[in-house]
């Protein structure tokens, strides 16, 4: 029997096929006919389109604010990844020190810092409340708290390449010092030191000091050292660090954007 001659049967089969309840051998026979006859194909398409309307007819449910935060973070991360990929393709073998001057990577660092801000808030919650999860509302509240804390005009969260927060950096302008708090589990070897670098918008990285082994560290720094610096990074260096003019010689372990508190 040629079902193209039986419009009612064709319509019934197409409706069942598109609904999904036509199964097994009957489904395969219908698919074969659809490949052979445009009329069958068209009937299936009509019903697929009709049934797809079911997706528009369900009761609405408002998502929690955290869902958009997660989407936004993942979109930013994918944009960062693309920027880094473009940077790698643009210069496959950078000259010594060239990596640091690559503008795209710099922008990438700033974007990574935006992600790290969230990680920082997460850390804050764990420190303050012992909670393991954060909601959008909590994040907002903590950001406000962070911004309301007096005497902190700059804050940075330095994260590793897994976006795990490893170092919380705040600048205290009253005492002219950078306060660093280790929040990750990283420990340098006995013959190694961590060194903090400012990554200014122009020129090479500038050393802000070498870190001791303590969990809470303080480095002397003036406001001029951090003003208009978009990002900070920490490299692993030989014990005692390297001169600022040399630039980092070891791997960059942690980096993040320096965020100025809105006054």
């Amino acid at each position: 029997m040629n079902i193209t001659q039986h419009p009612d049967l064709l319509d019934r089969l197409a409706a069942s096929y598109a609904l999904g309840t036509l199964r097994g051998g009957a489904r395969r026979r219908f698919e074969t006919l659809a490949r052979e006859h445009a009329t069958v194909r068209a009937a299936a398409l009509v019903w697929q389109t009709r049934w797809s309307g079911l997706t528009e007819l369900q009761p609405q449910v408002a998502p929690s604010p955290a869902v958009w935060t997660r989407i936004d973070n993942l979109v930013r991360a994918s944009q960062l990844e693309q920027a880094l990929q473009a940077a790698r393709q643009a210069g496959p073998t950078p000259a010594p020190g060239g990596w640091w001057r690559n503008l795209l990577v710099w922008r990438g660092v700033a974007a990574a810092g935006a992600l790290a801000t969230l990680a920082a808030v997460g850390v804050g919650v764990q420190v303050n409340g012992g909670l393991r999860t954060t909601t959008g509302a909590q994040i907002t509240a903590l950001q406000q708290q962070l911004q309301a804390t007096p005497q902190i005009q700059y804050v940075a969260v330095l994260a590793d390449d897994q976006a795990a927060a490893s170092m919380l950096v705040t600048f205290d302008p009253q005492n002219n010092q950078l306060v660093l708090q280790r929040v990750g589990g990283f420990r340098e070897g006995a013959d190694q030191s961590l060194q903090l670098w400012a990554l200014p918008p122009a020129g090479g990285p500038r050393s802000l000091g070498v870190l001791g082994p303590d969990r809470l560290l303080k480095l002397v720094a003036g406001e001029a050292d951090v003003r208009q610096v978009p990002a900070l990074a920490i490299s692993l260096e030989p014990k005692g660090g390297v001169p600022s003019a040399t630039g980092p010689t070891g791997p960059v372990l942690f980096k993040g954007a320096l965020i100025q508190r809105m006054l």
Binding site: D11, R12, A15, S16, L19, G20, T21, R23, V46, T49, R50, W51, S52, G53, L54, T55, E56, L57, Q58, P59, Q60, V61, A62, P63, S64, A66, V67, W68, R70, I71, D72, L74, V75, R76, S78, Q79
Partner: protein, 191 residues
């Protein structure tokens, strides 16, 4: 309220998303997240899983908005199909490790048939084609409407529906067959 057709506003947003405009993604999310989460929840039945589906779906929309125009679909239908596809993936993944939660899942499913109102569907923002379907579904008995909807949304066979809804297989087959016949007659008038 704009006088423009909502579809053309959503299509403009999708065009901007295709051009990597992340502000447009936020606007699209604000406009469509609630209906799309409702859809995901109907398929996966758990709020956490539904929110994960919504997240996945928006990342898919971000990546593939450039192919929207070629689909020739109303924008909500296109996004609805993305959500349904992600939700079905999540269901399949869950069914592979749900043996211990089977009973709990059954209870949830059973409730969906008991507590349905005459026509619980929300057609406020629906496209024209969905509105026709809404009208025709509204003429079915609620249990027929329910099994037909679940067959499509959850991509379930007669047997799977019977098992999950704890109904005799013959009953499910009859409801779907009668529901389909009425719907076909009604939808033919909108062709």
């Amino acid at each position: 309220m704009s006088t423009r057709h909502p579809d053309s506003e959503l299509m403009d947003l999708l065009d901007r998303i295709a051009a990597r405009d992340d502000a447009a993604l936020k606007s699209l999310y604000e406009r469509t997240a609630s209906p799309l989460l409702g859809l995901a929840l109907r398929i996966v039945r758990s709020r956490d899983a539904a929110e994960d589906v919504l997240q996945e779906a928006f990342l898919t929309i971000w990546r593939s908005a450039g192919s929207y125009r070629a689909s020739l679909s109303p924008p909500m239908a296109w996004m609805g199909l993305i959500v349904r596809s992600r939700a079905l993936d999540a269901l399949r993944k869950r069914s592979s490790d749900r043996a211990d939660r089977m009973n709990e899942l059954d209870d949830e499913m059973a409730q969906t048939l008991e507590g349905d109102s005459p026509n619980p569907m929300d057609a406020a923002d629906a496209s024209e084609q969905a509105f026709a379907l809404h009208h025709c579904l509204g003429k079915l008995e609620s249990k027929q409407r329910e099994v037909v909807s679940l067959a499509y949304l959850r991509d379930q066979s007669h047997g799977e529906l019977a098992e999950q809804l704890r109904l005799p297989l013959g009953t499910v087959k009859t409801w779907i067959r009668r529901g389909l016949e009425q719907l076909r007659a009604c939808m033919a008038r909108y062709a």
